[in-house]
Amino acid sequence: MIDPEWLIHAGMMADAPVADGDAQRLTRELGEEAEVLPWLLVMRGGFAEWPAARAALKEASTAVIRPRALAQDARASGGAGQRDACRQALLRAIAVTQESDRWAVDEMNHLRQHISSRPQPNHFIAVS
């Protein structure tokens, strides 16, 4: 919850004054403190007197992670990647060296829902 007094002070600092009567409503509307700076900057035209700071903040606000590259990767090779991970897990299981290692057949049962085009219902029930 945002402190209304703090919001009023922040508005004064950013050259975007918040009226006393609006502060209560705005604290509810904005919800959390992280939303205050973008709101002052974008919605209220704050920091107009501080062009350098304003430019830096605008640049920072556009530097968000874009999922586009990830999407291309997921479309092209997502299934193959998952299948390869399953194959590696099976190879590890084949080389059982100690009691706590998973056995290959159990591992295959566990992984089958990820790599089979026709999984069986028992593959969806938790083992433990």
Partner: protein, 749 residues
């Protein structure tokens, strides 16, 4: 091995349910069997000696099941009655508190192609629907169970005289009829427990094979019985001790008499120790412990007597009558039902929001139309799968590990959308093993969006309020720049993409289609089908009639006006407050506001802007959020419902009001124009100013003119029955689903 036997080679199967005082769950068990995907089965239910309403439940299935009786509370006797009445080549046993996976019989029977096979058992899921109760079990000749890993091959134990053998669970066991007759069926000495273990051992000793089929699933609910409570604490140990003692002394002799004596001693001491532990930890009372200890002594004596008699009689066979003459095979005679999954994060009674309530009503209605229905919803605690009242409930959690790819592929926010979507898709993958045909999900949060890309499933997206339609009424989505740009904007873009791609769309009004086509710049065309929302009849639910309401209204008393909705601008609560303010101090009328919990800021606003002070003005009451029963009572008590919503895709409140014979004063916006018939089921007002002034004028008139009020009440309920009942909605939606499945060349029941 994933292939099933072809239909024309699938052997006829008799599913046998033995029931005793489990009427509450029996109907679901039978419904589950009736939804089996198998071409050639009958259901035999052996009841008795029940003292509850099991017979009434069974009477409802008359003509579709074989209904037999058992006079003794003895499971082995009841099972033999079932076998004697069964006409199938295979007999599959299911408990009365269990539900089968639809492909249960197909998975079991693919093993029976081997003529040496006498029995096949599946794996059994516990009452969470998420974890195993029992998988592979291997027993020794004293009836002690061992649990090998799934990879253990039990076929190596199939030889006569084996010290260890696969033992099937009674609620998930199938046997070849010829094999059962070969060994004489079940031994009546096993009134409860080890009856099926005894059969498995005698089958193997007679040269038959018994194996496990891991994919043949049963969902077991563990109801209370005459033997144990629902928490699995024994009410009595006597039948179990008789069975176990008999088993040890009957079958254990192969291992030597010294080992028999040791096994009997170990078993007795284990039970007495367990009883003492339960009593010391407060799990059972001292008196209960004493009774259980007495059961151990008496049961041991009875078991020894019976097994000694069996030894003297050289008994090796069960007690099935030798030449049973069952009635002809009785197939239920209907095709596999259309299987649909409805997705809704919330559900009543925890969530009474529009989508949640619509989903629940639709599910019940589709079930009544003969469809197999699954609801995928958000788990409030632990995830679970349950079959209750003929509907599967899948309460699931998010699947964060699969969210990244979905967030990237479908350009939706990862937290809160893609992670939930991934959980939904994981459950849909499971439901595909059920033979799922169709998935319906709401546009809000696009919960099952990846189904569009699944060639095995038909996808229907239902239109409700969307992010884009709601945004004008959510100022915080604009003020919160981070939230708006990282969540709301991507959601609106994803909604647009989904509307472009959706193969089938279910809408509740022309208004919502027009609005969506305009706002998103898309054309829905023939992909959209309009089926108005429906709801249950509040009057009928309260055991009342329209005449009751009219009689109450004729008695006079203050005119009762209701506003039901959250205090947000879209709902037009401010217009309702203005109307209420106009009647301040007038004892002939009262206003109830329900749905939103007024905080101090809201009460300040009501006082400062509208002059309403609920503390002083007894004609206005704010109820806050109320439960369903209280809301229904308020609908019935109301004479008029105010619904000044600035936009509703449909307006569920309006038809709920009409179902209580309460007319609606609505703003002529959005879907309400199609719901409220002006002058018949309420009044439509063209604009906000008209709404306030017109409502004040009309309410003032209705305070006096009770005949007009009665006419509107009658008109409201008649319109509801004709157009908006839950039955009408379900029938139309079922017709829509069947039509699109038929168009795709799929099954159409």
């Amino acid at each position: 091995m994933t292939r099933f036997l072809p239909d024309n080679q699938s052997p006829p199967i008799s599913v046998v349910i033995n029931t005793l005082n489990r009427a509450v769950l029996l109907d679901d068990a039978i419904t589950g069997v009736m939804q089996l995907d198998y071409p050639n089965f009958e259901l035999v239910v052996v009841n008795g000696p029940s003292t509850d309403h099991s017979e009434e439940v069974l009477a409802r299935w008359a003509g579709r099941i074989k209904h037999l009786h058992c006079d003794l509370p003895n499971l082995a006797v009841s099972r033999n009655v079932g076998i004697a009445g069964a006409s199938g080549e295979i007999v599959a046993f299911l408990d009365d508190d269990a539900v089968p996976h639809p492909l249960w019989l197909r998975y079991l029977t693919r093993n029976f192609a081997d003529p040496a096979l006498g029995g096949v058992g599946g794996f059994t899921v516990d009452n969470t629907g998420q974890r195993w109760q029992v998988r592979k079990t291997v027993c020794d000749r004293f009836g002690n169970a061992h649990f090998p890993p799934d990879s253990f091959d039990e076929r190596v134990l199939n030889w006569p005289g084996t010290p260890l053998y696969p033992s099937l669970l009674g609620t998930n066991a199938s046997f070849r009829m010829a094999a059962l007759r070969d060994i004489g069926g079940f031994d009546h000495a096993f009134a409860y427990l080890l009856d099926e273990t005894d059969v498995c051992l005698r089958l193997i000793d007679a040269g038959w094979n018994v194996v496990y089929e891991p994919a043949a699933l049963i969902f077991h609910q563990f109801a209370a019985s005459h033997i144990r409570s629902s928490t699995r604490k024994a009410k009595t140990l006597y039948p179990s001790v008789v069975s176990k003692t008999y088993f040890i002394n009957h079958h254990g002799r192969t291992e030597g008499y010294g080992k028999v004596a040791g096994a009997l001693q170990d078993y007795r001491e284990e039970l007495l120790r367990a009883n003492a532990w339960l009593a010391e930890h407060g799990e059972i009372s001292p008196h209960h412990r004493q009774a259980l200890d007495s059961d151990v002594e008496a049961g041991t004596e009875a078991g020894m007597t019976a097994s000694s008699r069996a030894l003297i009689d050289l008994k090796t066979r069960g007690d099935l009558e030798s030449e049973p003459t069952p009635e002809p095979f009785l197939a239920p005679g209907h095709p596999r039902p259309l299987r649909v999954a409805l997705v809704s994060q919330g559900l009543p009674p925890d969530n009474e929001a529009g989508i949640a309530r619509w989903t629940m009503l639709l599910a019940e209605g589709l079930r009544d139309q003969g469809l197999a229905v699954h609801i995928i919803t958000r788990a409030r605690g632990q995830a679970s799968r349950r079959f209750v009242g003929g509907i599967w409930y899948h309460a699931i959690t998010t699947a964060g590990e699969s969210a990244d790819a979905l967030a990237a592929n479908y350009r939706v926010p990862r937290a809160g959308v893609a992670d939930w979507m991934a959980g939904v898709m994981r459950e849909i993958a499971f439901l595909k093993t059920f033979g799922l045909d169709l998935v319906s999900f709401p546009i809000w949060d696009l919960e099952a969006l990846p189904v569009f890309d699944d060639p095995d499933l038909t996808a229907v997206m239902s239109l409700h309020t969307s992010y884009k339609l709601a945004r004008p009424f959510k100022p915080e989505w604009t003020s919160r720049v981070i939230y708006g740009r990282s969540f709301v904007d991507p959601m609106i873009a994803a909604e647009t993409a989904a509307l472009v791609r959706a193969p089938h769309i279910l809408a509740n009004s022309h208004a919502v289609i027009d609005q969506i086509e305009r706002e998103y710049a898309v054309t829905l065309g023939d992909r959209a089908k309009i089926v108005p929302h429906g709801t249950s009849d509040i009057l009928a639910g309260q055991g009342r009639t329209v005449a009751d309401k009219l009689a109450r209204q004729r008695k006079g008393g203050p005119l009762s006006v209701l506003f039901a909705g959250r205090f947000e601008p879209r709902k037009g609560y401010d217009l309702a407050l203005k109307v209420a303010a106009a009647f301040r101090g007038d004892a002939r009328i009262r206003f109830d506001f329900v749905g939103g919990t007024p905080d101090s800021a809201f009460l300040d606003q009501a006082r400062d802007e509208f002059g309403l002070d609920p503390v002083r003005d007894h004609g206005v009451k704010f109820h806050g959020e109320v439960d369903r029963a209280a809301l229904d009572a308020l609908y019935y008590a109301a004479d008029v419902v105010l619904m000044p919503s600035r936009f509703e895709s449909f307006g569920l409140v309006a038809i709920e009001a009409m179902s209580a014979a309460t007319p609606v004063f609505a703003l002529a916006e959005g879907g309400l124009v199609e719901v409220v018939e002006d002058g018949i089921s309420g009044v439509l007002f063209a604009g906000e100013a008209d709404y306030v002034a017109g409502s004040i004028e009309r309410l003032g008139a209705l305070i006096i003119d009770r005949a007009m009020l009665g006419k509107l009440a009658e008109g409201s309920h008649a319109a509801f029955t004709r157009r908006f009942s839950d039955t009408v909605m379900a029938r139309e939606v079922a017709r829509f689903y069947r039509a699109i499945i038929a168009d795709q060349g799929g099954c159409n029941d």
